[in-house]
């Protein structure tokens, strides 16, 4: 079994590494430093860390001001607060002014588990994707997260980075390339394409393995950047494979599935299905049971692929 590590742990470790090489990096948190893991940075660079207390709106706007004084500011809280509660601050202070603020938002999706629906952001990707000037990253695993943090620091403007609480499978290598806006094909295939992001990427790889045993070769695309979306990779997947399934730990409304659908609707008439949360809130439970409950497992991806393949072969 693959090594497991949460993306939030990798996020905190990456911030501490980044702090060592870039003294212009400041980190802000709203009393969640030991959950978002910005505490890793706090321990090493306390004079470059601001705790705003439990006041996310204030933190986001102040982070914009700090950024406009020449700093690269990472502001962290839970995704439901960063993208949700402080949405208008992220919009008007950070995105409208193209402030150099990176939002590292954790505990996204049902994988945050027992805390329940109030804390499981299922709409953050959707909210952040609609904002002009915003880049949206959903790294597949801990290895990719470190690269995402360093890449985000190089972007001149706002970046949303989605992180998770649950230790999940490492499915990329340390030498796997990471370029914002450029999807990674992790497995080649010509029969169907599975486009996934975040912790659904390792699930997509498991699904592809299962499909291979039945003679179906699935291409697995790690779409770590939701915005700007690698449209060429989506079009190539549709042309080469003739069938597409998306998989995300997020609502099927407005997230990766929607972004891919927008590209496909622009002239690519291929059978298509979205694996994700079917327009509902989360709920308390152990993550594996929640994945089963919300249809977020490798088996659900396999079933979706089979339905799409049936449509492809009828056509």
């Amino acid at each position: 079994m693959a090594e497991k590590k949460s993306t939030r742990i990798a996020y905190g470790e990456a911030l501490a590494k980044l702090g060592a090489v870039d003294e212009k990096v400041l980190v802000c948190d709203a009393d969640l430093a030991h959950a978002t893991m910005t505490a890793n940075f706090l321990d090493k660079y306390p004079d470059r860390f601001y705790n705003f207390g439990i006041a996310e709106s204030n933190m986001m706007t102040s982070a914009a001001a700090l950024a406009h004084c020449g700093y690269t500011v990472f502001a962290s809280t839970f995704a439901v607060f960063g993208a949700g509660r402080a949405f208008e601050q992220v919009r008007n202070a950070i995105c409208y002014t193209k402030a150099n603020v990176k939002l590292g938002c954790s505990h996204a999706g049902p994988s945050c588990g027992e805390d329940g629906g109030s804390h499981q952001a299922v709409e953050d990707i959707s909210l952040m994707r609609t904002l002009p000037n915003m880049t949206v990253l959903v790294p597949a695993d801990a290895t990719e997260m470190e690269k995402a943090v360093f890449a985000a620091a190089k972007v001149d403007g706002p970046v949303y980075i989605r992180t998770g609480r649950l230790p999940t499978d490492i499915c990329t290598e340390s030498d796997t390339p990471f370029e914002i806006g450029k999807a990674n094909v992790l497995r080649e295939g010509k029969n169907i394409a599975i486009i996934a992001c975040g912790i659904m990427v390792p699930q997509a790889l498991l699904a592809a393995e299962a499909l291979a045993k039945e003679g179906v070769q699935a291409r697995v695309i790690d779409m770590h950047t939701i915005k700007p979306l690698d449209e060429a990779a989506v079009i190539a997947a549709a042309k080469d494979c003739g069938a597409v399934v998306t998989a995300e730990e997020h609502s099927i409304i407005g997230g990766l599935g929607s972004a891919v659908a927008e590209v496909l609707a622009d002239g690519m008439n291929v059978p298509f299905e979205r694996v994700g949360i079917q327009d509902s809130f989360g709920t308390s439970g152990k993550p594996p049971m929640l994945f089963e409950h919300f249809g977020l497992t490798d088996h659900h991806i396999v079933e979706a692929c089979k339905r799409v393949l049936a449509r492809k072969h009828c056509a």
């Binding site: 601001y50 705003f52 207390g53 006041a55 709106s57 204030n58 986001m60 706007t61 102040s62 982070a63 914009a64 001001a65 700090l66 406009h68 004084c69 020449g70 700093y71 208008e88 601050q89 008007n92 202070a93 409208y96 002014t97 193209k98």
Partner: protein, 267 residues
């Protein structure tokens, strides 16, 4: 409040009326009430360089009540941040002068505000940066009283005291009115000075149309705390039929009203 307005203050008011009449929209009442507050800041207090608006050691001014931006634009033009001819383009497509302050479009505007409450957090962030800068700077924030109903005002007030930001001054343009009526009718502020004091700020009250008094309040010695100055003002100040009238928060003038207002402001 019957003393004759100073010549410069009358000129800024005339500029505001010209701008708002030209675009037939915008907010006269709250623009006219904060003229002397901004005048004190830009004439007596702040360090800035109109030729280098992004000078890193400049003092920052955040107009948190962003709808009063015609006042800021009149002063910035007067100080040479951009040509005065730009003023007549206010609120028009392609203008550098947006309906609410936009730091990306207007030289001299330090924060994009207008979404009420946010300016106070902008000022907080700038004050934190001012404390860690090689060349420290001061930060001034002009808030509105209706705006003080926003939660962010109090989130940032708590944080400013926590971080001992004595480089931060909030000036409240306390004209007592907001869109739906008086503060007391809509959502009473209670004792606003006592509230800031309880949050750990130094507090004082001044006549908000007395430039010298405002200047003195800003420049009084500091004691390690952020400062709150309650500037008692008259909404619509300088135009008799607008003074203390709720209806002039955001109403365009017709020709007759514009001409009458201009006559009142003649030198």
């Amino acid at each position: 409040m019957e003393q004759k307005l100073e010549k410069k203050a009358r000129q800024y008011r005339r500029d505001i009326l010209d701008m708002l009449y030209e675009c037939q929209s915008g907010h006269p009442g709250g623009s006219l009430s904060c003229v002397e507050i901004l005048q004190a800041l830009y004439e007596n207090v702040m360090k800035y360089d109109p030729k280098n608006p992004h000078w890193e050691a400049r003092d920052r001014m955040v107009l948190s009540k962003g709808h009063a931006c015609p006042t800021l634009y009149a002063i910035l033009a007067d100080k040479g941040f951009f040509p005065k001819e730009e003023l007549k383009t206010l609120r028009q497509l392609g203008s550098i002068l947006q309906g609410h302050p936009d730091m990306k479009k207007t030289p001299g505007v330090d924060a994009s505000t207008g979404s009420l409450g946010q300016g106070a957090s902008w000022a907080l962030g700038y004050a934190l940066a001012g404390k860690r800068a090689e060349k420290p700077f001061n930060v001034y924030c002009v808030t509105g009283d209706g705006e003080s109903q926003e939660g962010m005002i109090w989130e940032s007030a708590m944080a400013a005291a926590h971080y001992h930001l004595d480089n931060l001054t909030v000036l409240l343009d306390h004209n007592g009115l907001q869109i739906d009526g008086s503060n007391d009718q809509v959502m009473g502020l209670g004792n606003i000075c006592a509230k800031y004091e309880a949050f750990g700020w130094e507090v004082c009250s001044v006549d908000g149309h007395d430039v010298a008094a405002i200047t003195a309040a800003i420049q009084a010695p500091r004691c390690g705390k952020p400062r709150f100055i309650c500037c008692n003002t008259v909404k619509g100040k300088g135009v008799s039929f607008m003074e203390n009238q709720v209806g002039w928060h955001g109403k365009p003038m017709n020709q007759e009203q514009y001409e009458a207002a201009c006559r009142e402001l003649e030198v």
